[in-house]
């Protein structure tokens, strides 16, 4: 019955992303387009970075384990930098798109703001990254066996699913932070995103010591979430009002 593991891991990894997609993106066709284009940009960045890594591996001696490990670390770091570079390129593209949308609109206002685009682009990057990380694991989880015959941890599927979930969230928040930094010329915000991304990727080299990769990633996610919330106009006060509102069950007030 490893159908159970398949569905369990799918829901863990992609459940939150599904929620985000259903309730905030699916209704608006423009957001869907931005989502898919964001996913595509991430894909291209992966293609280029893996091409470099592949050439490096083929050109090197496959039996030298230390060299191969070093090449892998190099590959990961290079890919992180390339992903962020493509995020920047996507930002540039969306900036141009806003000008076009303003020109096309009737009232001179773009139907979507750059902050919303940032959020959607982040979800796009996250979804594609999660898909690439998780799909082949899910395919293998359908079979009758579980990881472990060579001594690996039995929790492989579970921890991969949790890692994928945290990474999708992280990409979302990094999108918001990165675009905000580009918009307001705050280079240190961009640098912070790159450093956080490198840190999360680097922490995965601690695997199979899963505490070493999952705990830092979740902590970083909490930090990024808070920062993105504050940048998007949130505050502790708003949060308190939201929670009180939920508890009293009052209907939503019109925006002030």
């Amino acid at each position: 019955m490893t159908l159970a593991v398949f569905f369990g891991c799918t829901f863990i990894a992609f459940g939150p992303a599904l929620g985000l997609f259903l309730f905030t993106i699916a209704r608006d066709p423009l957001r869907i387009i931005i989502l898919i284009a964001g996913a595509f940009f991430w894909l291209v960045s992966l293609l280029l970075s893996s091409l470099i890594w592949f050439i490096a591996v083929k050109a090197s001696d496959p039996r030298d384990e230390a060299l191969q490990k070093g090449l892998l670390i190099f590959g990961v770091m290079f890919s992180v930098l390339l992903q962020e570079a493509f995020r920047f390129l996507y930002y540039k593209l969306l900036r141009k798109a806003i000008e076009g949308l303003v020109a096309l609109s009737e009232d001179g206002c773009s139907p979507i703001s750059i902050q919303q685009m940032a959020y959607v682009a982040g979800v796009g990057f996250g979804l594609m990254s999660g898909a690439f990380s998780m799909i082949n694991l899910l395919a293998d989880s359908l079979g009758p066996g579980t990881v472990g015959i060579h001594g690996d941890s039995q929790l492989y599927f579970l921890t991969s699913a949790f890692m994928t979930m945290v990474l999708i969230f992280l990409h979302t928040f990094w999108g918001i932070l990165f675009f905000h930094g580009c918009e307001h010329r705050r280079w240190w915000e961009i640098a912070a995103v790159v450093v956080m991304h490198l840190a999360v990727s680097g922490s995965t080299f601690w695997n199979p010591l899963y505490v070493g990769s999952l705990v830092p990633s979740y902590l970083l996610m909490a930090a990024a979430a808070t920062w993105a919330y504050l940048l998007s106009g949130g505050s502790a006060q708003n949060l308190r009002r939201f929670l009180l509102c939920l508890r009293s069950g009052a209907s939503p007030q019109p925006g002030s």
């Binding site: 891991c9 863990i12 929620g19």
Partner: protein, 705 residues
């Protein structure tokens, strides 16, 4: 997904897939690395497949997506109790030691639902008491003895030929059974069992447990009638037919001492003596059929006798012709011989039954006790005076030919029927005088008849240590010497039978040739001699595995090809034709291509170069189809002809892995559902109250969420 497969998952899980024990990218593109973390494939296995005849199905079957079970190693009978009653995690996949692979244990396993499959490890050493999964009475009902002909001999009433036979091959199992040929793989499985599955101090073994999955789903069911009907319906009406079974078929090899027109008919007055052996064997597992004593030694002796006969000087002056016939498929109710008799009756063969003067068959001849070779005859047909006279003549000639040789020929007498032999099919059609030569008087000397243990050790073929393959090819074993003596006796007897009057001392079988043939057919087909006598385009058939002699469904099999080429080499002549002339003999006026077969063979390697010197061989060797007449006549339920078919299948493989407890799986699912529900709810509420949560300063371009 090639990138992610090779452990290069950017963003986070490079570390995930690069586990210290992982094999790194050079072979990354065969099977992805996650699959390699989970499964260990078992590569050197042989399955048990399903065979069908007119009324039954035999063999094994697995579910369409494989059968999985927790591994349990059974090395003594007490271990079976865990599987059958005590074990808490049924169904079990048993790793059975070869010594316990007997009828008693197998019937116990067949009756329970707690067994999902079986893997048998080859027994080392070979079970000394004998092991034969064949029937006690082989080919019963398809020979000559029935209720209408010699009823006292039918169904082995008088003599049980194979008393060691358990009949396991002819049982129907509903779980897959595989043979583990490689001792290293068996050790890997036992190690996994020791690490995870062993019940310690009476407590229950804990998850994760080591499990095995076997895939051997067979498409055909019930019987040949059903599967051939379904296949013919598919072939007739479907655009993409799904055939479910194939008849067992191959080719018989035959050759004559004096050339005959193979597409014409032989004169009715011309008499022919037929010498026959079978060239196939069988075992419980598919394509495992070493058949050393049951087939190989007999046809090797036959080939040596054919070579010896050709050395006689007046071969073309002999009064009678001699036909050397090698029948395929005899293990399965006489496919080859029944087809030849049918062709002779229907005039599709150059010879007819009237042409046959006598019949000599060589059955199992390698395990002679005190050098005695027994001559079996059919007591029922000998009640006829003329047949009796001719049989008597035949027996006398045979006895006289053994004078001076280290072979004693003794008659079995009237009390015994014929052992299972191709001669019985000829007797069904015509009362021909004939004799079957064997090394056993009553029951078989061969205690491993039609089993995987019928190996060179069974015929006491031993080589000294430390020989290279080429030295082994040339070394003359004692078995070879003994078989050469039998071949000499048979050849001399045939010469006399054919009317030869000269001195027979020149007719000698060569032990060197016999030894090379034994090496090639029992140990390694890919040797220098075989390489030099085959055609260039099929030299790929010489594999490096142990030779197996199963009749199979795609043809001709390696054994048939090699018997054909060896016979051509031993009895044919080298002719001085070029390659074009040899491949197109009809263009040469004097080639007489009706009488002869021309083959362009590779030739041997020059000692110091890598090129070969090919040449043209002219011989009288021909192949005729050995497909049971039941399939020609479309009588799939026939009880007169063999109706054996082999099922088709899509994939056959085996692998081992760990299985997790059900609790862990359910926990994973529940956690997933909880996270999904919580995140959907949270997102809904955040989205609904977004204006409270995100109150941006009023910005002309901004739109509320």
């Amino acid at each position: 997904m090639a990138f992610s497969n090779c452990g290069f998952e950017v963003g986070f899980d490079a570390g995930h897939l690069l586990h210290p024990g992982c094999v790194f990218p050079s072979d990354c593109c065969q099977g992805n690395s996650v699959e390699r973390k989970i499964y260990i494939p078992l590569n050197k296995t042989a399955p048990c497949v399903r065979l069908l005849n007119a009324t039954h199905q035999i063999g094994c079957q697995s579910s369409i997506s494989g059968d999985t079970g927790v591994i349990h190693v059974v090395e003594k009978e007490e271990d079976l109790n865990w599987v059958l009653t005590d074990g808490p995690h049924p169904p079990y996949m048993i790793l059975l030691d070869g010594s316990l692979f007997n009828r008693k244990v197998m019937l116990q396993l067949k009756g329970t639902s707690r067994v999902s499959g079986l893997a048998v490890a080859v027994a080392k050493p070979i079970p000394p008491q004998g092991f034969s999964p064949g029937l006690k009475c082989p080919n019963d009902g398809f020979g000559v003895y029935s209720k209408d002909y010699g009823p006292q001999f039918a169904h082995c009433n008088k003599t049980v030929w194979n008393p060691v036979g358990s009949g396991l091959s002819y049982e129907d199992f509903d779980f897959p059974i595989f043979l583990l040929e490689d001792a290293n793989e068996t050790q890997v499985i036992k190690q996994c069992y020791q690490d995870h599955n062993v019940p310690r101090e009476g407590s229950v073994p804990e998850y994760p447990l080591c499990a095995m999955q076997l895939f051997s789903h067979m498409h055909a069911v019930t019987s040949t009638v059903t599967c051939m009907r379904r296949s013919s319906l598919q072939s007739t009406f479907s655009i993409n037919p799904e055939v479910v079974c194939d008849p067992l078929l191959d080719y018989n090899v035959w050759s004559t001492l004096q050339p005959i027109n193979s597409s014409g008919k032989v004169d009715p007055e011309k008499e022919v003596i037929i010498v026959a052996t079978r060239i196939d064997s069988h075992s419980f597992f598919w394509n495992i059929a070493p058949g050393a004593e049951s087939a190989v030694t007999s046809f090797v002796t036959h080939l040596a006798a054919a070579e010896a006969l050709h050395k006689a000087s007046d071969v073309h002056l002999l009064q009678r012709n001699i036909m050397f016939t090698f029948f395929q498929g005899e293990t399965f109710d006489y496919i080859g011989s029944s087809r030849m008799v049918y062709d002779m009756e229907k005039d599709k063969f150059p010879l007819r039954l009237d042409n046959i003067h006598s019949f000599v068959e060589l059955n199992q001849v390698a395990l002679r006790n005190d050098s005695v070779l027994w001559m079996h005859t059919d007591p029922v047909s000998r009640m006829n005076k003329s047949v009796e006279a001719r049989v008597r003549n035949l027996l006398d000639i045979l006895s006289n030919s053994s004078v001076g040789a280290n072979v004693t020929l003794q008659e079995v007498g009237y009390s015994q029927p014929l052992p299972p032999s191709s001669f019985q099919r000829f007797l069904r059609a015509r009362h021909i005088p004939g004799v079957v030569l064997t090394d056993h008087r009553t029951a078989f000397q061969n205690r491993y008849y039609q089993s995987m243990y019928d190996t060179p050790e069974n015929v006491q073929m031993q080589y000294p240590e430390g020989l290279s393959p080429e030295e082994m090819l040339e070394y003359v074993t004692d078995t070879a010497k003994s078989l050469a003596e039998v071949a000499t006796v048979v050849a001399r007897a045939l010469y006399r039978l054919a009317g030869g009057a000269n001195d027979t001392s020149a007719i000698q079988a060569d032990p060197k040739t016999v030894s090379r043939m034994l090496y090639g057919f029992l140990i390694k087909m890919n040797n220098s001699w075989f390489q030099s006598i085959v055609k260039p385009d099929i030299k790929g058939i010489l594999g490096d595995d142990v030779p197996q002699h199963y009749v199979a469904v795609s043809n001709p099999v390696n054994t048939t090809y090699l018997v054909q080429y060896v016979l051509a080499n031993l009895t044919g002549t080298v002719v001085n034709l070029t390659k074009e002339e040899c491949l197109n003999p009809e263009k040469t006026p004097s080639s007489e291509r009706e009488m002869y077969d021309y083959a362009w063979v590779q030739g041997s390697l020059d000692p110091n170069s890598t090129s070969r010197v090919p040449y043209c061989v002219r011989s009288t060797v021909h192949l005729t189809k050995a497909l049971s007449p039941a399939f020609e006549l479309r009588q799939w339920g026939s009880t007169e002809y063999s109706t054996w078919t082999e099922s088709r299948w899509k994939e056959i493989r085996a692998r081992i892995f760990l299985v997790a407890s059900k609790e862990l799986e359910i926990i994973t699912l529940v956690v997933g559902i909880v996270i999904l529900v919580v995140s959907l709810l949270a997102t809904y509420f955040i989205n609904a109250k977004a204006d409270i949560l995100f109150s941006l300063p009023r910005d002309p371009g901004a739109v509320a969420y």
